[in-house]
């Protein structure tokens, strides 16, 4: 459980990161909080030729309220998200990430880039229609979170790209519910309810390879239906897979229940 040899570069700027990643020709990895990368390195499931340490790059850990949203720098630790008060949904979601040690190291950019379908930040990003700003060889560009996530641990980021910040719109109403085997575990199901630009979005984590909108449930709510009906619709419209912790029918039922609980937080019973 010790990693294979790699080169190490401590980058001083985003430009340097992009340059080193470019030179690594697809064989480089960004080291931020290391909470997902280091275990994968130790298991030798990832063998990058070079690690680019971004932890000393200045200016990447800012949390800034902007018009109707909060911009979160890529190096912002989860513990800072818990403490900040500009974006209450983000604070609540971050509380559910791992344990204290993990939250002290793990970063927003790292979590979004890792794209674990059971992690909290990707589902919140998709749930509030966040936009992700990416630095790459041809400069900065911005993509919607929902377009970033292509599959489990798979994003539309190119080899030379680095996430620099994420813009999380502020929902006017929100609810968050999660089910995990133990406190701090990856979620079996996360449900995020967020009212963005007047419409209520229901987004689920842990039930598919990417965060998934529960559109049938959203429609029921929009039509004035009950949370119970929305929960039932959620269970029907998702297609989760079975694993050690539960069968597909169990996950459907839990997803429905988490949607019901998140809806209750916005006053929909």
């Amino acid at each position: 459980m010790k990693c294979a040899p790699f080169d190490y570069v401590r980058a001083g700027s985003v430009e340097e990161v992009v340059k080193v990643l470019g030179e690594a020709d697809g064989d480089g990895k960004i080291l931020a909080g290391g909470q997902s990368l280091v275990p994968v390195l130790a298991l030798r499931m990832a063998r990058p030729s070079v690690l680019v340490d971004v932890n000393r790059i200045p200016g990447l850990a800012r949390i800034r309220p902007v018009d109707g949203a909060v911009e979160v720098g890529a190096l912002t630790r989860h513990s800072r998200l818990v403490e900040q008060t500009h974006h209450p949904l983000l604070a609540e979601a971050a509380r559910w990430i791992g344990h204290t040690a993990i939250r002290s190291r793990g970063t927003t950019g790292g979590s979004i880039a890792h794209a674990d379908p059971s992690a909290e930040l990707p589902v919140v990003a998709a749930g509030v229609d966040a936009t992700v700003t990416i630095a790459g060889p041809s400069g900065e560009r911005t993509v919607a979170a929902e377009e970033l996530f292509l599959g489990a641990l798979l994003t539309s980021l190119d080899d030379g790209d680095m996430i620099v910040r994420v813009r999380f719109p502020l929902p006017t109403r929100w609810g968050f519910a999660e089910f995990a085997r133990r406190h701090g575990d990856f979620a079996l199901v996360t449900a995020v309810v967020a009212e963005i630009a007047g419409s209520l979005r229901i987004t689920l984590g842990g039930v598919a390879a990417v965060p998934q909108r529960a559109r049938a449930a959203e429609q029921i709510v929009a039509d004035g239906g009950s949370a119970k009906d929305a929960a039932r619709a959620t269970a029907d419209e998702i297609d989760p897979t079975a694993d050690l912790h539960g069968s597909a029918p169990f996950r459907r039922a839990i997803a429905g229940e988490m949607v019901r609980r998140a809806l209750a937080q916005v006053g929909i019973e």
């Binding site: 459980m1 294979a4 085997r181 133990r182 701090g184 050690l244 539960g246 839990i254 229940e257």
Partner: protein, 795 residues
């Protein structure tokens, strides 16, 4: 979690001011008080000395190459590339002449060999095949990638109650390594007379021990002295020395095993593993170079001893009034690929069959137990050995029968439990129960739970349609401190009933204890010091304890079967008493008093009736070592003794656990509202340590009941290879608990009963019973997970 005592706050630490001479001796002393633990200064300030911390000149690190197959023939091993890269590589052929062979005199037992590094075939995924030595662990693991092993896959068998696809060992074509039938009374007649027969198939979940510190060793061969030193994170240093010496053809005096601080053991470190032997054999090939191996968590889950993978086909006959008339069971234990040294494949099955009927009166009993080899990691001792499973099976019979007979689940237990009037009670497996205090434990547990209040709340919720609650109880007996007449282990070539202890009063009057006990966090240094301080009459702070080094301690079997307080403690007490006899004799001569009138308190010697100290222990000791001119005739120099102690029989520890549990109907989650454990620890020598043992073992039992589960797929791969998938309970999952005691002294020098394991015995049964009480759900397989409960609620 937090722990409350059912009897209110524990005794406060004792001030160290010397007691007046007139004080009765039972008011003096440290036993029964929460004296500050001797090991805590180093353990809680980061100064513990674990094997991992050992750094020696020229040290090299070892990594093991492990089989990716559950079952395969090895057709070739090529280490050329690794050697070309500068690594020292050992493969199975290098040590083919050495095997571990666990022995038992039981007639049906089939002895099998366990290779040090597999060379003909691999029998479980994770079995060591080769070892690489390098400058550090990183490079050693780089080297593993350069060793090429060719495998020819064989069909693996992972379930012990399915037809074997291909025998694990040719000596046992049906994979059965041991089978035994317990038979008492007339089971057939009793079932014929029964008003109710309940019958169930129960499957329990496979566990890993998972101490915080995994296995670890450093081996060093001194060629000039022809001596091996092996620092080993083991619970059983003398057993390790004995077998390492035999396997390597060395005299025991030329093998030194040192167990320094050890970070938890729970039984899995009471096994001598092939990796241990490999490390020592490799060290002999590399004289003067210390070889270090520290197991990582992935290796631990893969290759350290597993446990509790059992199936119970169980049937019980009851009279209409709830009396248990007959019990019949067929118990299959998955013992994994090898019979672990020294415990053999018999450890779990024999314990299951010997104690299945637990604390209940039973005349008619037939139980066949078998240990079946499979292509999984070897199973071995783990805290509570088999009883968390067998108690679950037995208590399930009572919960089942109570519901069918319309008798309260607690009442049916009362009608069957062994009482103090029945003592000594000969169980149908012929073990003799010396306790009988189960009813008292149960009463106290139900009081602490506030049973009537929860019953009322249960009714209220039923009427209000809220999430239901259920109450579960379990009674159990824990056989502890086993002497030679009931020795632990399945008739192995040695009897583990005794330990030795050396007590030396040094020339300055302070005391050094060199004990054969070992500690993996249980505070044995403290306990031994308390015992010796009180037995001699010196201050606790003036006693130092050294443990874990076979070059120092004469003999100790180590930590298992909740034996050390009884046996190691008994040895310490008796030895200290022997030293005190000489101390009193010498002091009496020096102060010209009658021996019978001499009292020793807090390091001072008094004469009865005189409040003024006559001489100090230090001065007496000085005479014993330095002033032979003052020694009376017939008294030799020195003030020390070494003795052995064997309690001959064991001491049963009674226990009862009870809980109130809420079930979330929508998610299947259980929430423990209150958890109570009441045990008979006999005399509690250090109440905090006793409570810590109980709290820890209950927590471990709850982990097993709700979370922990090692799963193999059909190809023989471990699906739960990291702590992401093998779920351990954390402080967030362990509820607050209430711990209570009934303290009936056992018949041994200190009146103590073992307390290390009992807590693990209850939770499976308690939670399953609570679930049945809440919703009528029958638990047939463990662990109880939200998914499994949800499935029962949504059939």
């Amino acid at each position: 979690m937090s722990v409350d005592r059912a009897d209110g706050p524990a005794a406060a630490p004792r001030a160290t001011a010397p007691a007046p001479a007139s004080a009765a001796e039972d008011e003096s002393g440290s036993l029964g008080r929460n004296v500050r633990r001797k090991e805590d200064r180093r353990l809680v300030t980061g100064h513990g000395r674990f094997v991992t911390d050992l750094e020696l000149p020229r040290m090299r690190h070892v990594a093991f190459l492990r089989s990716p197959y559950g079952h395969a023939r090895i057709t070739g091993v090529d280490a050329t590339a690794a050697r070309d890269a500068g690594h020292r590589v050992f493969t199975g052929r290098d040590f083919a002449h050495v095997v571990l062979r666990a022995q038992s005199a039981l007639p049906s037992y089939i002895e099998t060999d366990q290779p040090i590094l597999a060379h003909e075939k691999v029998c479980f995924s994770g079995e060591p095949v080769a070892a690489v030595v390098a400058k550090d662990r990183y490079r050693a693991e780089d080297g593993l990638e350069l060793v090429a092993v060719d495998y020819e896959a064989l069909p693996p068998t992972v379930c012990a109650w399915q037809e074997p696809r291909e025998p694990v060992h040719p000596e046992a074509p049906d994979n059965v390594l041991l089978q035994r039938t317990f038979d008492a009374g007339s089971v057939t007649d009793a079932f014929a007379a029964a008003d109710l027969v309940v019958e169930r198939e129960l499957v329990t979940n496979r566990h890993a021990g998972n101490p915080m510190e995994c296995r670890a060793g450093v081996a060093l061969w001194d060629a000039a002295d022809g001596k091996l030193t092996f620092w080993n994170g083991t619970q059983v240093p003398h057993i390790v020395r004995n077998m390492i010496a035999e396997l390597m053809g060395l005299s025991e005096g030329k093998v030194r095993v040192v167990a320094p601080d050890v970070g938890g053991g729970f039984g899995v470190k009471a096994v001598l593993y092939p990796e241990d032997v490999a490390l020592c054999l490799m060290a002999r090939e590399m004289p003067g170079i210390p070889l270090k191996w520290v197991e990582d968590r992935a290796e631990h889950l893969l290759a350290a001893a597993h446990a509790r993978d059992h199936r119970y086909l169980i049937k019980a006959g009851f009279a209409a009034d709830g009396r248990l008339l007959a019990l019949e069971a067929d118990v299959t234990c998955n013992v994994g690929a090898y019979s672990v040294y020294p415990w053999t494949a018999g450890i779990e099955p024999l314990m299951a069959g010997g104690l299945l009927s637990g604390p209940y009166k039973l005349d008619n009993y037939r139980c066949t137990v078998r240990g079946v080899a499979t292509n999984t990691a070897p199973a071995g001792p783990y805290r509570g050995v088999a009883r968390p499973a067998s108690v679950f099976a037995m208590e399930t019979m009572f919960d089942d029968a109570a519901a069918r007979l319309g008798i309260d689940a607690i009442e049916i237990r009362r009608r069957n439990v062994i009482t103090p009037e029945d003592i000594p009670y000969k169980m149908p497996s012929r073990l003799v129960d010396d306790s009988g205090h189960y009813g008292e434990c149960l009463d106290k547990a139900l009081d602490a739970l506030d049973h009537p209040a929860f019953r009322a709340e249960q009714q209220r919720r039923r009427e209000a349609g809220e999430n239901p609650i259920g109450i579960g109880v379990a009674l159990y007996n824990e056989l502890t401190g086993l002497g030679r007449a009931a020795s632990a282990g399945p008739r192995m070539p040695f009897r583990t009933g005794h330990d030795a202890c050396t007590v030396r009063v040094n020339p300055d009057g302070r005391v050094t204890v060199i004990s054969g006990v070992t500690s993996q966090g249980q505070g044995l240094e403290t306990t031994m010091a308390q015992i010796v301080a009180d037995a001699i009459g010196v201050r606790y702070d003036d006693v130092d304890v050294r443990i874990g080094d076979t070059d120092e301690a004469l003999w100790g079997f180590g930590a298992f079967s909740s034996r050390q307080a009884v046996i190691g403690g008994g040895a310490a007490h008796n030895t200290a008493v022997a030293v005190k006899e000489k101390l009193v004799k010498l002091a009496a001569e020096l102060i010209e008093a009658a021996e019978a009138d001499v009292r020793v308190v807090d390091g001072e010697v008094y004469v009865v009736g005189d409040p003024k100290a006559q001489i100090s222990v230090a001065e007496v000791a000085r005479v014993a070592y330095l002033e032979s001119n003052r020694l009376p005739d017939g008294i030799d120099p020195g003030l020390d003794a070494t003795t052995f102690f064997d309690p001959i029989r064991g001491a049963f520890a009674a226990g009862a656990q009870a809980a109130a549990v809420e079930v979330d109907r929508t998610t299947g989650e259980l929430r423990i509202l209150k958890y109570v454990c009441v045990e008979d620890a006999g005399r509690a020598m250090h109440p905090q340590i006793v409570d810590g043992q109980i709290a820890g073992s209950v927590a471990q039992g709850l982990g097993g009941a709700l979370f922990e589960h090692l799963v193999y797929d059909d190809a023989g791969n471990l699906s739960t290879g990291t702590l992401l998938d093998y779920l351990m309970p954390t402080s967030a999952e362990v509820p607050d608990m209430v711990i209570g005691h009934v303290s009936h002294p056992a018949a041994n020098p200190l009146g103590v009963r073992g307390v290390g394991e009992g807590g693990t015995l209850g939770p499976n049964a308690v939670l399953a019973g609570a679930l049945r009480d809440a919703l009528g759900i029958e638990v047939n397989a463990l662990p109880i997970s939200p998914a499994s409960v949800w499935k029962e609620l949504h059939p």
